[in-house]
């Protein structure tokens, strides 16, 4: 893909390219294994299967190697038969107010993950769509392949901001825009009393395959001062007075871990690919880890 990365989403394209190359076979296998998903071959140039040779990349099947051509060029060459119409993927990004709190890096990381996923999936020949949501769908990018689609998704993400305050994270609101079966990547902090279980259930029952990327700030359970403090829920506006101490922070940290654990258990029970990501991690590491666990 051409250089189109700029603004607040300034990902390294070389890294994305390399990651896409590595991830392509893995994602291909993953989608192939998922029941109900299909791969189709669309004919290039009016129905001819064969599209030429290309350089070998890790993940390519050995049987696709053209040994004679490889010997001539002293590099492995594989037959290129088709442009994959590929699998359908939707990225559902939580743009509720909680994604901007307690630090901006949390939102930045969520954007980076969404953007990188879109790049990798589109580079792998998949069709990718984007739905951003809070208490309702905020932005919707219909499914599409290729570079043009990535531009659209990137542009939406580039301009996207979480809500200042108020609102909610209603994942199931995205369902109305996802008509066909697809793989759904949900990027959210899942900071709900039921860790958005209701929305996840609805998606599962609709036959979609889910990926849950939980994005949490490393400072989520920290406060700026000690003593008596008033906390305000950025979404509900509800306030609460606590005494900020080391013990208070430890309790909050414990709750977060417990909640993540519950979410992880729920995901494994429902064959949802779950990843925990913190703002002290790099998006690339999170993606590599997630893809390698597929």
């Amino acid at each position: 893909m051409a250089q189109i990365l700029d603004g607040q989403l300034n990902l390294n394209e070389a890294e994305l390219e390399a990651l896409a190359r590595v991830a392509k076979p893995k994602l291909y296998k993953h989608t192939a294994n998922i029941s109900g998903f299909y791969r189709s071959r669309t004919l290039i140039n009016g129905g001819n299967d064969y599209a030429g040779l290309r350089e070998y990349s890790p993940g390519d099947e050995v049987r696709a190697i053209n040994w004679r051509a490889s010997a001539r060029s002293r590099q492995f060459q594989v037959h290129q038969y088709q442009q994959e119409r590929g699998a359908r993927w939707f990225i559902c990004l939580d743009a509720s107010a909680s994604m901007g709190v307690p630090e901006r890096h949390k939102w930045q990381l969520a954007l980076e993950l969404g953007d990188a996923f879109a790049y990798i999936l589109l580079a792998g020949g998949n069709q990718v769509g984007l739905v951003t949501f809070n208490e309702k769908v905020h932005d919707y990018c219909p499914l599409g392949p290729g570079r043009h689609q990535y531009k659209k998704i990137h542009q939406v993400l580039q301009q996207l901001q979480p809500k200042d305050k108020g609102g909610n994270s209603l994942l199931h609101s995205c369902l109305s825009h996802i008509k066909q079966q697809a793989s759904i990547i949900v990027i959210s902090d899942f900071l709900q009393s039921d860790f958005m279980k209701h929305g996840l259930d609805r998606f599962c029952k609709s036959g979609h395959h889910l990926h849950a990327m939980q994005v949490i700030s490393q400072h989520e359970s920290e406060l700026s001062a000690d003593g008596l403090l008033t906390l305000s829920d950025i979404e509900t506006g509800e306030t609460m007075t606590i005494e900020s101490t080391a013990q208070t922070h430890a309790l909050a940290e414990h709750w977060l871990q417990q909640q993540s654990q519950e979410l992880q258990t729920y995901c494994s029970e429902h064959r949802i690919n779950y990843s925990f990501s913190s703002t002290n991690q790099h998006w690339k590491d999170i993606l590599v880890k997630h893809i390698s666990n597929l």
Binding site: P102, L229, L251
Partner: protein, 531 residues
Amino acid sequence: MFIWSSPLWLLALAVLPLIWWLHRFQAQSTAIPVSSLLYWKSSEADAKALKRGAKTDPLWLLRALIASLLIFSAAEPLWVENAQRNIQVWFDDSFSMQTMENDTDRTELALDELLTRLKSLEAVQAKIYSLSDPVYTPLLLETGSEALWKNKLNSWVKIRSTEMFVPLASQLPTEGEHWLVTDGADQELNDWLTTSPIHQLVQVGQATGNSAITLLSIRPGLKESRIWNGLIQLNHYGLKPVERTLELISGNHRLNQWTVTLKPEQIRYIDFDVDLGALPEEQQLIVRFINPDALPQDDQLGLLPIIQVPTRIQGSCPQPLIAAINTHPFLNTGIPGSSKAELNIICGDEVSNQQGKVLRFHQSSQPEKVDSAAVWLESAGELENLFLQQGWLGYIEKNHKPINSYPVLVADKTSLITLTESPQRTLDCYLDMNWPDFIHRPEYPVLVAGLIDRVLGNAILDNILTAERVASESRIKPLPIKQPVSIDSVGRSQSIAFDFTPYLIIVAIILLLVDGWLSRKKHLQPGKIVP
């Protein structure tokens, strides 16, 4: 000695509890946004119970310290040496310093204020100078109690009705500091203040309204010598018009009374006639306001009307001369022998053994005709206007020439009239006052009256008696004083050993930087949205 230069600033320390209060309750009143309250639920506690034991942001101590340092620096802490302060006090002892302010005059108020200020200093040597008399010995105050200083000041101060003698700034002693004590009513003194290195100003007085009798004048009436014409001049200064009643008295007799309305800055004249012949002798003629005002010293003027000059005639005077003397309206020739005569008219060479001035007409049985033109000399005064033709006059040869005399009327080389100043003012007339060609001339009584005026030194036929005072001295309103910039600061610096102010400011700035650094560090901590 440690002192605060502006101690009122220390009152600002009262805001320190406010700083604590702001830190104590700001933390509670500002809600910190969090992504969810769920994970804090377990820490929720009884807010009221927590508020009671809540801790205040410890940064309040640092900020209170900064505020305290700034307040202390504004109060200017000084370490002052106990060295003796040398103060030159320039005291305005002009006429207006007698103005009454309630029950006390300005001089007393000024002395009290000066004394208070001097005694408030640790060690001081003060030298008080008079501004109205440059040769008046200054008063030195160095040791002693306040009561002693006050007695010294009271006995030293003398109010004078003269112009001010303000020294040039370059003539002021360079050592020590200079103070000025004044009521601010004199513009010249105020101007001097702005150009002189005066360190401290002691100003007293607030009264503004004052009326003054600035002139009383009488002269003989033209129609009748007993009736004299008089003139009174009134000046009023102040902000409001006033109604004043004044009276003209002689002894216990009230001769006249007027009620006048005087506007601010108005000069008003009152003319009157008075029959001096009906008044008791040697009694002053006085004009005065009945009710005193803020400055009673200018509410009265008086003069002694000299109606007739006591005159004694000795010797055998020719009849025409006797007649001329008797027709003079202001000579009293009927005084008793024991009374003192102001004028002795002697006919002949007899020597006067009386006090008073002498007009001597020399006599001889063989007078000679004056055959040269009679010429008045400079010492003749007004008599030089009297033309005496040589053909009218006869003269008497001198038997002796008076010592130290100088000629008044001469004919060629002959002195016809001479004047001697000592031991008695004596006018010797060598004209024959019985000369037939002269005794019928109208110039004859004029010459006699002129000689009387000349020996008395006063034109008593046109006698104007005046008593007056300088009107501007009656201005008592304190004028705006433009104080020099250096006032009250240079003098202090002479005794300052150490000024802590800059060091306090430097420490406060350093602490401010530390506070900024701590605040930023705290601000960057998680738990707050960082844009």
